[in-house]
Symmetry: C4
Subunit: 261 residues, 4 copies
């Protein structure tokens, strides 16, 4: 079989489209953001991407119906007068081998180039290894003007982060994208790396809104973030209790337990 | 060499054939069921499948004659008036890399499509991690009508199982099969995951008989299942004894040992 | 580059040639036997085989000159009236991945078929996991007549060994060889599996001489075998001493140490 | 995508060019030497090499701009009357799989052959597993005359080192180079294997200068070497102190700590 199979579901003409990529990764930030964007805009499905570089796996829905693992391209047509239509790339997996990552990225970029894409934004998480109360959005871009533009939009360009560079789809879509004549940037939401992190995805989408001049209702994502905050807080409290000396019987801890339960 | 080599042993015309797949996996349930079906129907060999994605290995028979590891397609012609001929796929291994799984499955599906296959049943085990007295048959299908049809045939569609989806040939033959315009379902016999499980294979074949409207004599499989039951029971008893306090000399345990020995 | 590159060093016409394969493996028995055969017959180099499925490595000779790792085909022209010329395949490595094993074997078989090869003998070691004083030669063949013929030549066909079949080049040259219309057999010298074992290689070559009706002077191999016997004996004695209670001062062990030193 | 993509940045005619390779490896000696040579000569960029056999990674510069990992060819035109122009190959990674190493090396050699390269020098480190005060340069070459020539230039050809041969690009560029009709040698600077080792790179470049009859100012490399020496010395002293008995309060160690801090 072809290494990568792209099935087009609908034939469309797009107006100077921008590709937004968000696949599973650190804190699932990129995937959360891209999926949310796809659902809220709302977009329509454009193409399904299968590959032998994904795991040999099908998912089973709650209705008992199976679905082969894939990546998926959706499109959004900007309202009249909008500068750019959008393509959103999401999916179940990144390629599971280095070669697979290159092959899939190259094929998707080739496909997107034919649709007129000249600009790419990749969304990702940046693991800080500690709880991040108010996640900043770190950036990396394909050229200096974009660094400047994103800095104005609130993105942080750090001299040291990410020190080892970007590994995986978020980096490769930019790095290989340049061989297709595309420019772009990666937006990395800070995250602990321990949780799925909708708060970080929200921070990324806030920047993306500003940069793409689109409007996305973030209420549902904020709700999800609060739910995760609540769970994290409970775990944190439980951990603190277990590392504290045993409380005197009858004192405060009983109340705490009630709060947690 | 070609990644996958399919050697046709006999040229046949088949009447609306259905593919039944059963390769090694959890509890060897799928392979046990497919091999038993192939031997009991009885079928005739149709094609041998070699691949560089199998291990570089030959088996040596008791007569000292070698055989390269392979998968194998057999066919069964339904008696006059039957709705469907059958193709049974069995073999020594699934592909040993993810890419190999995709390549082999795709090539076999392509071959089967040319033989007229439009429906696929994949047979597998579902590991419960505990002893299963009376294995249920769980299901997953390519569309809602098949879920309904199989539910009537006694298959259980669980909202939560299998949670991670199906990994390997049993999922891939359905997932990739859809790209070939085929529909179908996976029948998963519950099993502990610790034993080769003919009891679970039997449960799967009972459902398959109903669905395919064929008749298979299950006596030999039932005998094999009882043999395994007996071995499992002995092991279970032996384990219980070792975790019990040492018995008083001369009491019941001596008898037990006699029974086990 | 081509997955496998075969460089022909000399153009030859061979008379009904038989391929003898011996590559590194258990106890290095196959390689020892094939290298010895190549040197003693004597043969002439015919072709060098390079592959990206070998390690990315060069060897450096004592003269400081490098050599890329390879497999090598040598040929031997039988004296007038001889039934078969011979091809001997040896080398530094087997393919280091399963796919690599298939690719290299298939390409070498294809090359050998064009030279007229219809029969293959593969040489290997069979690990017994214990010291083997007088190694037997176990066999596996592509058909029953060869099993019979080899049994008469002293080869042992065991109902149980090798239980898991043959893994690697020795099996694959036979298994894939059949797809090229070749017949043949594997000769496995028993060996402990702990040492490089010229004694086992000698046993294999004694059988091969009989079967191929050739004469090879085994004196140098026997000398090497005795040298290894001597080393193994010393190690054995040293091990026994360390597991014995400390000897009385002034008694025999002092003498032993002198012997070993 | 192509397994290896070579982007030519400038079209040049070179005069009997020699290829000098230095990629990351033991002590990073080869890369340090090649990078230094490239910067000091000075050279101009000729081609960038991308490959799916490199990690799927981009680096982010201090300015926030990304760069896909690559290897890079630079060229140097000898002054009038010079015998050879030079090509210098450096980069971020060697291929990350054995097959990748072969593929990349073969493609770069093919590219260099078209530029007229007939001679290759590969630069590497040779790990001694102990501190090396004055690193020697060990050698391996494609033929005896080169061994002789290099011996006169101060290169050490040891009967035993490197015992296992050369693994990776430094060996492969010579081994595969011969299939392209190229001759050459590997220059291996002795190094501990524990540090990045500019001292060893300096030793390698001193030999290379002599052999290529070029002049490179080694002052900056020597400065770097002294800096590493200083760090290594401090670590060494710190280690010695921790393994010494605790000093009497008020004695010399207080001074030592001051020196180290």
């Amino acid at each position: 079989m072809d290494d990568v199979v792209i099935r087009t579901l609908e034939k469309v003409e797009l107006h100077d489209p921008i590709l937004v990529e968000g696949l599973p990764g650190v804190g699932n930030v990129g995937k959360l953001a891209a999926d949310y964007l796809r659902d809220q805009l709302p977009t329509r499905p454009l193409a399904v991407i299968y590959s032998k570089f994904f795991p040999p796996q099908v998912y089973v829905g709650e209705d008992g119906v199976i679905r082969l693992v894939s990546n998926d391209l959706s499109y959004w047509k900007a309202p009249a007068g909008g500068k750019h239509d959008l393509l959103v790339l999401g999916g179940d997996y990144q390629g599971i081998s280095p070669e697979g990552q290159y092959e899939i990225t190259e094929r998707v970029l080739d496909y997107c180039q034919k649709l007129g894409v000249r600009e790419v934004f990749t969304l990702a998480g940046f693991a800080q290894g500690r709880v991040v109360e108010t996640p900043r959005v770190l950036g990396a871009a394909t050229n200096a003007p974009r660094v400047e533009m994103l800095t104005k939009a609130g993105v942080v360009f750090s001299r040291n982060d990410p020190g080892g560079g970007l590994i995986g789809a978020s980096g490769l879509f930019l790095g290989l994208g340049r061989l297709f004549g595309m420019e772009g940037a990666c937006l990395m939401g800070e995250t602990s790396g321990y949780f799925v992190d909708p708060r970080s995805a929200e921070a990324v989408l806030k920047v993306l809104q500003r940069v793409l001049e689109i409007k996305v209702d973030l209420a549902a994502l904020e709700a999800k973030a609060k739910e995760i905050d609540r769970i994290a807080q409970k775990i944190h409290e439980a951990e603190q209790r277990t590392s504290e000396p045993s409380p005197t019987p009858g004192s405060a801890p009983r109340e705490d337990l009630g709060y947690i339960g």
